[in-house]
Amino acid sequence: MIRRRQLLQAPLLLTGMSAMPLLASSKARVGIVGGGFGGATLARYLVRQAGVSVTLIDPVSAFITCPFSNLVLTGAKTLSEITFSRRGLIRDGVEFIPLGVTGIDAARRELTLSDGSKDRFDFLVCAPGVEMNYESVAGADSAIASHGSGHISQRMPHAWKAGDQTQLLAAQLGAMRPGGTFLITAPPNPFRCPPGPYERAGLVAEWMTHHNPAGKVLIVDQKDSFTKMPLFLEGWRKRYGDRVEWIGLSQTGELREVIDGGKADKSGKRGIRTDFDEFRADVVNLIPPQRAPSVLRDAGLDEGRGWCPVHPDSFESRVASNVFIIGDAASAAPMPKSAFSANNQAKLVAAVIAARVNGQSAPTAWLVNTCYSLVASDYGISVSGTYRARDDMLIQTGGGQSPTGADEQVHQLEATYTHGWYESITRDSFGGAA
């Protein structure tokens, strides 16, 4: 059943990463596509198990976390403080290949890497995160074509993958005129980090109280409610008065067009057009709809639906056996697309693969998520969920949110826990400090 290690060492030799050796020849090979919270956690938990060798493939040699990138946006953290090298993984015995994956043959569990080489695995786990989907944002493509001024994300940053985008949006925020408007377009469900746009709104508003006291934050949402909504609304009102304004889908309609480049008005303001309104702003943080990355969709792992369906008791693909999808790319509702969910699903898949390799019965899953968000740097709120698989469905069996109307001390404590959570999950996932 378990294949011997393939003689496809060429990419490893080329990259000088061939640390895991022929000694591993009788071990089951696990290939992991993507080294974010899901892929890195899986690699660390799986490499401790007997009988497996673990190869993690990611073109990014140091991972920048989306959690806490809103604090980089406002200058409370630096990018290097949220960047994690692969040293922890390599130290644990994971083979790291710094290449992209350009093709997946799910039935053969074979990957094509960006150097053209191919590699086959006994188990394949895809944890590639999300792809921004600008196709559904009318005007985004035509704005690019007609003005030839680079990708829309250069002028209206999404900052929904941390790194250059975060720095770009931070620079735009810093350069904003006094009394300017920071517009966030929040995408339709499902998307990465459901509380993220609203945490961003609060932290930008907090930044404005110190640096741009007449500034405003406007959220134009492509839905009518969002996670922890009563808690965010309460926190914004208490801390920022009317500085933060939220407009929902039924009030303004769908996002129809971006106003960009030559279409900007005389003041140079960019903006968006919805069914019923036009909004102009000094900074536009356009967070587009999202989907599983094309390399998974091209492999048919999403069954044409944008996200990849899985069996909830194992997170094994519904399309191919011994292929698993974890993290944001998986269709795992009601679990949200969060770093915690990815980390948690990874631990389940590590146990499932270990059980299969060692001929043991499959573990019974209990899945959990907790998302802390900051309304302000000293004001935290949280939502938790627990999940079990029943009759091939994932069901939320427990959880809840912080209470509304709580004392400031409760929110201070949750802000402390937010920082503790970040330190802990990054240690758990990447095996070391930033």
């Binding site: 948690n344 389940l348 907790t370 627990t386 809840g400 826990y417 503790g420 959570w421 999950i425």
Partner: protein, 93 residues
């Protein structure tokens, strides 16, 4: 409408039914979930590793008490699951 209410009630009863042995979650998996938040050196309390009985008392107190997230998470665990993770925590150095 009455049929819908009955369906909802049946769903709730079904969700609230006790866990069978096969549905009892793997205690190692539950403990791995704990590690997500409890691996830090500051901010969030470390996991306890003393006597199993004392840990179980602590888990019940957290589940039944007023706190931020732990009562929400522990409320979903059965008596057997709580006992199993208490035993396993006690056995872990």
């Amino acid at each position: 409408m009455r049929g819908f209410c009955l369906l909802c009630l049946l769903c709730l009863l079904w969700l609230a039914r006790p866990l069978s042995a096969a549905e009892t979650a793997d205690s190692a998996l539950i403990l791995n979930s704990c590690a997500t938040c409890h691996s830090a050196t500051a901010g969030i309390p470390a996991l306890p590793h003393h006597q199993a009985d004392a840990i179980l008392t602590q888990l019940h107190a957290l589940r039944d008490g007023e706190n931020t997230v732990m009562h929400r998470l522990l409320a979903d665990l059965s008596a057997e699951e709580l006992q199993a993770i208490a035993r396993q925590l006690a056995a872990t150095p």
